[in-house]
Symmetry: C2
Subunit: 214 residues, 2 copies
């Protein structure tokens, strides 16, 4: 879909819908774009790549089911908010695959510009709230953000495992770069970190991850 | 993908991953199927149908942004849990489009059988918790469930509006059946109910919804 206008431009909301609700529904409509942003990761249940909306839902489900493994206590409701908004800026900035060095060069600038364009569609108080949630996730220093980032690392590792390679087969992926992703899981959860380590160990042994030159 | 085995069968988890984590990751892998369950609703941002995982994420975002419009106070964190699991049984039972009378005949039996198969993949305590969340959503009697069901009605209405018809053009959709869906929004939120009413009023006026025979 054309990226210059808004999703609601194709069928403007009835004029009688009032300012605050109109702004919120305009944002909800714009967020539909997240379903069209493809990630590098393959699905496990079908032969296609995952999109950002599916990924965001999967992370939220993982937060709900795996929160008990966080090494620090976390507020699950708050963590769910973080994962639900964590990729929203990609509706304009696109996905930046971690094993694609070129795409991550200007990632921060592209995403900050997208945030400046997207969040102000909301009423001002909510624009601030959503921006704060996104910035909290990005900074990764609260226990909730640390755990959500761990899920954001673990989910594609699991999809790669189920695909016997997946993005581990990309040119930029080697044991070292995969281990750097694993570290994000270990940082938040010793038990899930141990599981991630087993996925990588067996992935190396099975030839699904390239060993780094020694 | 084949529906007789488990998603993890294609690449079994390393045997050293322990019982509880193994059960949870097996469930997380099985949930990947939700990304392959197509709904009748069209996306607004692309020319294809929506899948259940995308839909679940979109509802969660709506709960987060629109909770202030609930006529009763709701616990947003709890409501998020309800929408994240509300369609999980469709990984085996499939989607049952509301305007397709044939598909809803045995919907309850199909979904109960799917729940009996899916939820026990989790550790027993979590299987109970997730089943209770699903049953709370289905019953729709708590304030959170009522609001989540309202979002489950409003989201496809908004997608239909943005598509100038969408599932409102299905043979089983008339003003009466569309109004019955609108009632689910009105029941939880007077302000969002008023917005839904405007979408239907203008939809009728624009010819995007068939008027019922008078």
């Amino acid at each position: 879909m054309d990226n210059t206008g808004l999703v609601v431009d194709r069928s403007p909301l009835p004029p009688e819908i009032d300012g605050r609700v109109a702004a919120q529904l305009t944002f909800v409509a714009e967020a539909d774009r997240l379903k069209t942003v493809l990630r590098a990761s393959p699905l496990a249940a079908a032969d296609r790549r995952e999109n950002d909306a599916e990924h965001s839902w999967h992370l939220a489900l993982m937060v709900l089911l795996l929160a008990e493994h966080s090494d620090e206590p976390i507020d699950v409701g708050h963590a769910l908010k973080l994962v639900l908004v964590h990729d929203l800026v990609e509706v304009y900035a696109g996905d930046s695959p971690v094993f694609d060095a070129a795409s991550v060069v200007d990632q921060h600038e592209r995403e900050a510009a997208a945030a400046d364009r997207l969040f102000p569609l909301l009423p001002a108080d909510q624009a601030r709230t959503v921006r704060e949630l996104w910035e909290e996730f990005e900074a990764g220093v609260t226990p909730e953000a640390r755990f959500c980032k761990a899920m954001d690392r673990l989910e594609p590792m699991l999809l790669n495992w189920l695909n016997r390679g997946g993005t581990w087969q990309m040119p930029g992926a080697t044991e070292a770069t995969v281990r750097a992703r694993e570290a994000g899981v270990v940082a938040a959860s010793s038990s899930l970190g141990a599981a991630a380590d087993l996925l990588v160990e067996h992935g190396l042994r099975n030839g699904w991850i390239r060993r780094s030159p020694s």
